[in-house]
């Protein structure tokens, strides 16, 4: 299951999620609306003439919460329609399920930010390339860890409540790296937790 087969499995799984979203249009529009509404709220929450640093900090808060919104939805279809069992039974490596889902989540995040970042630049004091690079790196970390924790959270009774509790402490280093513009640190975070999530996903979905 390694090699061409693995890549094909991942591609098929990611394509399934993107197709579902294209047809149902559930997650992405709500993420977009949420992030624009959050930025609007931050405009009124910040005092007049606030520094760029304060606005940038709030951008990160908005991005983390928007990602959380998308992650909460990520595995709902699987659980509600009993598709998880079918996926786990499918003759593919289980980490491929994680990778496919993480790629789909990443696509949603990038799509939301393609709108959110220009909106931020227009509403507040512009953007620099370093922030855009930091957001891109942070997305990888959010998608990898968030997908794993999302799979955990849907198994619980209070799934929408559980995911923020599990995910937010993990997101603190991302916010530190993002606000400070430490690209190497974000890349390190991505590498460590991508490998760990990739290796651990099998256990999260197995029932034995």
């Amino acid at each position: 299951m390694i090699g061409g087969g693995y890549a094909a499995d991942v591609g098929a799984l990611a394509r399934k999620d993107l197709l579902l979203e294209l047809r149902a249009k559930e997650t992405l529009p709500s993420m977009l609306l949420f992030v624009i509404a959050a930025l609007t709220i931050f405009h009124f929450a910040l005092p007049h003439g606030t520094s760029h640093a304060a606005a940038l900090g709030l951008l990160w808060a908005a991005l983390i919460f928007t990602a959380l919104l998308g992650l909460t939805r990520a595995f709902v279809a699987e659980r509600e329609q009993g598709m998880f069992d079918a996926l786990v039974l499918a003759p593919c490596d289980r980490s491929a399920i994680w990778l496919g889902k993480a790629l789909a989540v990443l696509a949603f995040l990038v799509a939301a930010e393609v709108v959110a970042l220009p909106a931020f630049a227009a509403f507040f004091s512009g953007l620099d390339g370093r922030t855009v690079a930091a957001v891109a790196l942070a997305d990888v970390g959010i998608a990898t860890v968030g997908t794993l924790f999302g799979a955990m959270a849907v198994a619980g009774r209070a799934r929408e409540l559980l995911l923020p509790l599990l995910f937010l402490p993990m997101a603190i280093p991302i916010v530190v790296g993002g606000v400070g513009g430490y690209l190497w640190f974000l890349a390190l975070y991505d590498a460590i937790f991508a490998v760990l999530s990739w290796a651990a996903f099998e256990y999260v979905v197995s029932e034995t």
Partner: protein, 224 residues
């Protein structure tokens, strides 16, 4: 590791008593911070013990994932439970120390305190996860994975917090070894041994209680 529980409890009481005596009557008063510096002999061992708990919990989690040993799941949970309690104590003693030496209850520039806050939040969510999933192998798997993420998060968070802040926390250990006099280091070691023995005792007590609880449940199932 096969000390009986009463012997362990006795050793723990002796060590903690000895540590208390040494802290108040033997350890030299710090020239810089005065009497209040003595809380260091509890604060730092408790913090280190809490890391030991989280590490032990992750080790047991790894054992569970590899060996499928059901006892390891319970042991991992109990170790993390103890770790959260020692972590809460670290936050409390750290706050008291911060109040005594800097006049504030909370200081964001104190790296260890902030790290413990992050870890405290992370491991509290462990209990939310554990108690919202039905008991069984699936739950044990998830909890084990979460516990392993925790030990990886410790150095990553530590690095993040260091990056984010100025560094005013007194650094007691650095690359040149402990910055303590011989007598201070001796008291510190006794105190550390005492707190570690306390962890071992509480761990055994809680484990024995939880096992008994599971056993009673099984018996009740058989009776009804």
């Amino acid at each position: 590791m096969h000390l009986s529980l009463p012997a362990l409890a006795l050793a723990c009481t002796g060590l903690i008593g000895l540590a208390l005596g040494l802290i108040f009557f033997y350890a030299p008063t710090d020239g810089d911070q005065g009497f209040s510096q003595r809380i260091f002999y509890f604060h730092v061992p408790i913090a280190l013990t809490s890391y030991v708990c989280f590490g032990w919990g992750a080790w047991k989690a790894l054992r569970y994932l590899r060996k499928r040993d059901e006892r390891a799941d319970l042991e991992s949970y109990v170790a993390i439970h103890q770790g959260v309690m020692f972590g809460a104590l670290t936050l409390v003693t750290g706050s008291i120390w911060a109040k005594a030496s800097w006049g504030v209850w909370w200081s964001w520039s104190e790296n260890q305190l902030v790290l413990f806050l992050v870890l405290f939040l992370f491991y509290c969510a462990y209990f939310m996860l554990r108690f919202s999933v039905e008991p069984g192998p699936a739950r044990a798997n998830m909890c084990a994975v979460y516990a392993l993420f925790g030990v990886v998060l410790i150095p990553v968070s530590f690095l993040a917090i260091r990056l984010s802040q100025k560094f005013i926390h007194p650094v007691v250990f650095n690359a040149h070894g402990p910055q303590m006099t011989g007598s201070q280091f001796f008291v510190f070691c006794v105190s550390l041994a005492g707190v570690l023995a306390l962890f071992a005792t509480l761990y055994q007590v809680e484990l024995a209680g939880k096992r008994l609880d599971a056993h009673v449940r099984e018996l009740r199932e058989l009776l009804t």
